[in-house]
């Protein structure tokens, strides 16, 4: 393949099979391999600006945390990353989100394909009212990945650190699991089709401290194979798990209120010597 063809391919992002995790492991990750290059992102619901002019890059095999006070647009921001806002009628997006150089909102990009590569886990565990096995097997079946399905399900459950707890009751209802287990099941469900990116929107806020720490441990393990972006209210959680942290805040001016990116840096820098006064005030609890 010539270099020109290679560039062409990344820009149009053709439908493709999910990249096998094993394949991704073989390629030694670059020091700073950019997965998302977000340029001038402004998201609106009707006339309300949810986030304004966000510029940042998200790097491969890192955990990137998004923190900030309520209403600062954290959730809107990560929902933009896998086109979850598409179905909101009044939603409008300006700027660009480049995924490996390809515009996620470009012509001809299939949102279903986007979500296959960029999975999402929500605040409240939301397993299907089906068996544990069927929850994990559901997406692979829909995508026609029926070969060696048992292995795929086991692998996903192992990756989500749930296998040992459920291997003897795979045919039982997912709703019989505890909250923490349900959330790990949702993670297993998301990774069963081997996406490249996992978005987690407050994944532990409905869980007790023990279940929370098991989710955090799991995130550490998962970043070997995946790029993770987590929205969290819990600053200490961001400090514990994330490599890089983005702090969003609300800015009020004549045109109204909008979420803006205030500071984005290595997590340890952000929590020891933030560059911005607003970040300092927020992380030390003097505001927000």
């Amino acid at each position: 393949m010539t270099e020109e063809e290679d560039v062409h391919q990344t820009v149009t992002m053709p439908p493709m099979r999910p990249v096998e995790v094993a394949e991704r492991q073989e390629a030694e990750p670059q020091a700073r391999d950019t997965v998302f290059d977000i340029q001038g992102l402004t998201a609106r619901y009707g006339t309300n600006v949810a986030v304004r002019d966000v510029n940042l890059e998200i790097y491969r095999n890192l955990i990137t945390a998004v923190i900030g006070p309520s209403g600062c647009g954290k959730s809107t921001f990560i929902r933009c990353i896998n086109r979850m806002n598409d179905d909101v009628p009044s939603f409008r997006l300006d700027g660009r989100i480049l995924y490996h150089g390809a515009d996620l909102y470009g012509d001809g990009v299939d949102p279903v394909e986007v979500r296959r590569r960029i999975g999402m886990v929500f605040q409240k565990p939301n397993p299907f009212p089906k068996t544990i096995y069927d929850n994990v097997a559901w997406a692979p079946r829909v995508l026609g990945l029926k070969k060696e399905l048992d292995d795929r399900v086991e692998k996903a459950l192992r990756s989500a650190a749930l296998w040992d707890e459920v291997k003897d009751r795979l045919k039982r209802s997912a709703l019989s699991l505890s909250g923490g287990q349900q959330q790990r099941l949702c993670i297993a469900r998301a990774i069963a089709i081997e996406p490249e990116v996992l978005l987690l929107d407050e994944p532990a806020s409905a869980l007790d401290p023990i279940a929370t720490s098991s989710i955090e441990e799991l995130m550490h393990d998962l970043k070997r194979d995946y790029t993770l972006v987590i929205v969290t209210h819990n600053m200490q959680q961001a400090a514990r798990v994330a490599d890089r942290t983005a702090f969003f805040s609300l800015e009020v001016d004549d045109s109204g209120r909008a979420g803006v990116l205030v500071e984005y840096d290595e997590t340890s820098k952000l929590f020891t010597a933030p560059s911005e006064k607003r970040t300092e005030d927020y992380v030390t609890g003097r505001f927000g």
Binding site: F271, T272, P274, E280, V283, G285
Partner: protein, 224 residues
Amino acid sequence: MRVTFQEELDQLEASLQEEGALVLRVLRGALNALAQRDVELADEVIAFDDDVDRLYLQIEEGIQSLLARQTPVAMDLRLVLAMLHTNLHLERMADYSVTIAKLTKLVADVEPDPVLLQSLEDMGERAEEMIRVALDSLANRDLQAAESLVDLDELIDRSNRRFVERVVEIVADPGIREWVLRMVLVSRTLERIGDHAVDIGEQVAYLLTAEFREFTDASHPERA
């Protein structure tokens, strides 16, 4: 706004300044005992060190508890770490003062050399000045004052060198030899107190700039 947390931080910092004031009293006591060959005062200094140690422990425990419960970050974290170090430096200074008091007792019955004695008094006053500057630079968040400690330290170092030169001149006199040898340690001790004051200044600079930086580096003096 985390009111309780802020109150605890303020309380710790007030205790640290209190400890600094105690250290100044202990050092002044030791210097007076030395100048006046006052064994009783030397004993008081030695006993008084327990008060410093109590306060040192109290601050240490306060910081431990604060870290466990409040997870300070950013400037708060740097202040807590700077206080942790400063606490230790102050405690060491008090121990050095005790060393001076003990050496004083050992040679209380020997007639001292007036030139050397005056030299030690001068160094002692410089050390006191440095402790005050260090504590004030922390209280006032004053980077410039913290950095000025390097120059003050140079003055103590110079006095220490002159002291040694004078010692070489008179050490042959058997009547004063033991006293002189003891006083070499006192001189060294005062010089160390100055170094600890500089170290506190470095903590103040860390608090204010978030950079770990040695003002002077004995093994790489050219970087100073």
